[in-house]
Amino acid sequence: MGMDYICTINCKPLKFVRFVSLFLITVGCLNEPDCLITSTNLTKISFVNGKNVREIKFDEIRVSGLDKIYYEDAKVSSVQLPLNPEMTEITFTFTFEGRVETLHLRYTTTVQIISDKCGAFTNYSDLEIIESSFTDTQVVANQLSTNATVNIQLSVD
């Protein structure tokens, strides 16, 4: 309505102006950030045998750089293990069913600021398997996120 009264000769340019303006308004409304931070240093690893979920009773799982023992005498089909924010590589050692298997990972950390109120946080991405004693491995999602269901899938006979 606002421009109709000056549209006396040729309205096509003004219609175009209106279209472009509305498009930019829409875009402008979509670029506000929110404080939903999904960053985490926990990598999610699942175990399969063929296409089936593989449940394993672990004696223990160890993470390089930490003395803590994870999943001691625990029977699970997936685990969550932490990455070291000060390093770019890490090794997990899995002891189960009389076997010792290792998984050596590399990753990238990136600093991001969402806003002054949300603050700064560290993103973990570009996750890749450098070395593994497991027969078959797959990186399902190479960015760590609280939303990701699985980052790495390992085949265990």
Partner: protein, 226 residues
């Protein structure tokens, strides 16, 4: 929402101006419309950024503006410095950089004897800056850390549509404002730290931005008007 209304008004003004230019090509030639020899150079500065510098804003800096009249067309050059010291929830962010804008304004007040201006224009802008963040964070089982990340020598570019006024106040003293819609920011930064703010533009995550300068100028005549 205010930004959206501003975007709408500015885009409408610029686009209407451009279309009126196209339509004007059908009209008989007018000596005020063509490119002419320059009669003066206007040098100025932005009062808003100076106000922020002397106030308690987290942003400070200065800006030098210059334009020259080629008839109704005014090639413009703007150079500025922008620093930021911003406390964030878990640390502190700093930014120090310089920017340059090149472009032209088109004057729509063609027959004003004082060469007062209502203009529409465009700019291409570049910035180079250093930024740093120091922040506290915790990682599961690895504990709490304080981390420092820097982005030295980061570069950025963007485009602006502008509109505004320039009014002669007294002798060679001029005042005016420039409203600018900034968009298409492209940043080249170091891996490991995603740029947060571009000097002269604003926050990197905003795909469009609007800015406002309230400016004072001193005009240096170099030739008498024909």
């Amino acid at each position: 929402m205010q930004q959206s209304i501003f975007n709408y008004l500015l885009i409408s003004l610029v686009m209407t101006g451009l279309f009126s230019q196209i339509q004007a090509q059908d009209n008989p030639p007018d000596s005020t419309r063509g490119i002419q020899k320059p009669t003066g150079i206007r040098l100025g500065t932005d009062l808003i950024i100076l106000g922020q510098t002397f106030g308690k804003s987290s942003r400070s800096g200065w800006e030098l503006d210059a334009d020259v009249d080629l008839g109704r067309y005014y090639p413009t050059f703007e150079y500025g410095r922008w620093t930021r010291d911003l406390p964030i929830t878990n640390g502190n962010y700093t930014n120090d950089g310089r920017y340059i804008r090149l472009g032209a304004d088109i004057n729509f007040l063609l027959k004003d004897p004082d060469k007062n201006m209502f203009f529409l224009g465009f700019r291409y802008a570049r910035a180079i800056f250093d930024e740093k963040v120091i922040y506290d964070y915790s990682a599961v089982d690895f504990g709490n850390f304080q981390k420092e990340a820097t982005n030295n020598g980061a570069r950025a570019g963007w485009i602006e549509l502008t509109t505004g006024l320039r009014v002669k106040i007294w002798k060679q003293f001029w005042m005016g404002y420039t409203a600018r819609l900034k968009f298409l920011p492209i940043v080249t930064n170091n891996s490991g730290f995603e740029s947060y703010e571009i000097p002269g533009y604003g926050l990197t995550y905003k795909s469009s931005y609007w800015g406002f300068n309230y400016q004072v100028f001193w005009r240096i005549p170099i030739r008498k008007t024909d």
